[in-house]
């Protein structure tokens, strides 16, 4: 077997930890252990939100210099949410490269750093689903809908959840 890089070792360790002690509502692991840089995750929608009862698949793509650089999290199929781009890519502070925010909006400790982990990312995503942040919106249309027509927003997400579970 080829010698493993730091990134591969770290990812395998995180995979093992997630298997042994996974937080509720989260399943994550590599699509195939032959390519440990591509993970598939399932995130449950938090209760008491329109995402409730939903299960949302997402892919995590890790850079080769992980854990120095953050992975990219992409919902597939895309999900209607103010902080998710129309192609499904999630935009939250923990996934932003380390260092100072050029816009002085995020504190450095909120951003990616090697002390973060897949588990923390997915937990952040769950709280993001529960509390959309329209101040740094990625999807302007979803932002508008969330702000101006909450009923329609909730409705569209429920439709999405029902369709995804075949009901």
């Amino acid at each position: 077997m080829a010698p493993k890089s730091t990134a591969q070792k770290r990812l395998l360790k995180e995979y093992q930890q997630l298997c042994k002690d996974s937080p509720p509502g989260i399943i994550a692991g590599p699509v195939s252990e032959d390519d440990i840089f591509l993970w598939e995750c399932l995130v449950e929608g938090p209760p008491d939100t329109p995402y409730e009862n939903g299960v949302f698949p997402a892919t995590l793509t890790f850079p080769k210099d992980y854990p120095l650089g953050p992975p990219v999290l992409k919902f597939n199929p895309p999900l209607l949410h103010p902080n998710i781009y129309a192609d499904g890519t999630v935009c939250i502070s923990i996934l932003h490269p380390p260092g100072e925010d050029p816009n002085q909006y995020e504190r450095p400790e909120e951003r990616w750093s090697p002390v973060q982990s897949v588990e923390k990312i997915l937990l952040s995503v769950m709280s993001m689903l529960a509390e959309p942040n329209c101040e740094s919106g990625a999807n302007v249309d979803a932002c508008k809908l969330f702000r101006d027509n909450r009923q329609e927003y909730d409705n569209q997400i429920r439709q999405h959840v029902m369709k995804s579970l075949g009901l």
């Binding site: 093992q16 298997c19 042994k20 002690d21 399943i27 692991g29 195939s32 252990e33 399932l42 449950e44 009862n53 939903g54 299960v55 698949p57 597939n76 199929p77 895309p78 781009y85 129309a86 192609d87 499904g88 890519t89 990625a138 999807n139 999405h160 959840v161 029902m162 369709k163 995804s164 579970l165 075949g166 009901l167």
Partner: protein, 204 residues
């Protein structure tokens, strides 16, 4: 005492000769060599900080070569301009610095025109437009289809058994993962179905 005076005078004379040798202008062939070196370097202008330059710098700038070729473009200068215009390429900045000769003039050029001319044969790099807002065309929304589940499929193996388990081989681990995924989807489906059936009587 005679000899020490003589020694003192000799020392003075040698010191004078040595100093005057240091002060005399460098013979003609040395600047010529330097010029050869610099003309080789002109294709990629770099600061000429060779040892011969430091001692003969005066003779170079005093008219042996035309004024504008003696401009040094240091990485620091390029960096300053780039910090003001991040989308400028290094070759753009270098070209304009060569023409203008100073960071201030180049920055002014950039401020006036919004950009700097490109060197010959070079064009603007392709702008990588954010592709985030183009949704992918064909993605199956249905999770049951995606994970190959049938509607009333039961999860084999008790879920509790799977919890916290780390398979011995990678095949085993991926089977565990697969089972956990199925379990989560089917459970969510059950919950949603019961919620919907609870809601329906209220609507009717």
């Amino acid at each position: 005492m005679e000899s020490s005076t003589i020694l003192f005078i000799i020392t003075l004379v040698t010191l004078f000769i040595f100093l005057s040798w240091l002060i005399t202008p460098i013979p003609q062939e040395v600047p010529y060599e330097v010029e050869q070196i610099t003309s080789q370097n002109q294709s990629r202008p770099v600061p000429i900080n060779t040892t011969s330059n430091s001692s003969s710098g005066n003779s170079i700038t005093s008219g042996v070569r035309p004024r504008n070729t003696s401009r040094e473009i240091t990485p620091a200068m390029i960096e300053i301009v780039q910090s003001i215009g991040p989308q400028l390429t290094e070759s753009q900045i270098r070209l304009d610095l060569q023409r203008s000769g100073s960071v201030e003039a180049t920055v002014n050029n950039y401020m006036e025109n919004g950009t700097l001319p490109f060197p010959e044969g070079e064009t603007a790099p392709q702008q990588t437009a954010p592709t985030h807002n183009i949704p992918p065309s064909t993605v199956s929304l249905n999770l049951l289809e995606k994970y190959g589940l049938t509607e009333d499929e039961a999860v084999e193996g008790t879920p509790e058994e799977l919890k916290g388990k780390w398979g011995a081989s990678k095949e085993e681990r991926s089977t565990f993962l697969e089972k956990k995924r199925k379990e989560m989807i089917l459970n969510a489906r059950k919950r949603l179905a019961s919620q919907l059936s609870n809601e329906k009587p209220n609507v009717l």
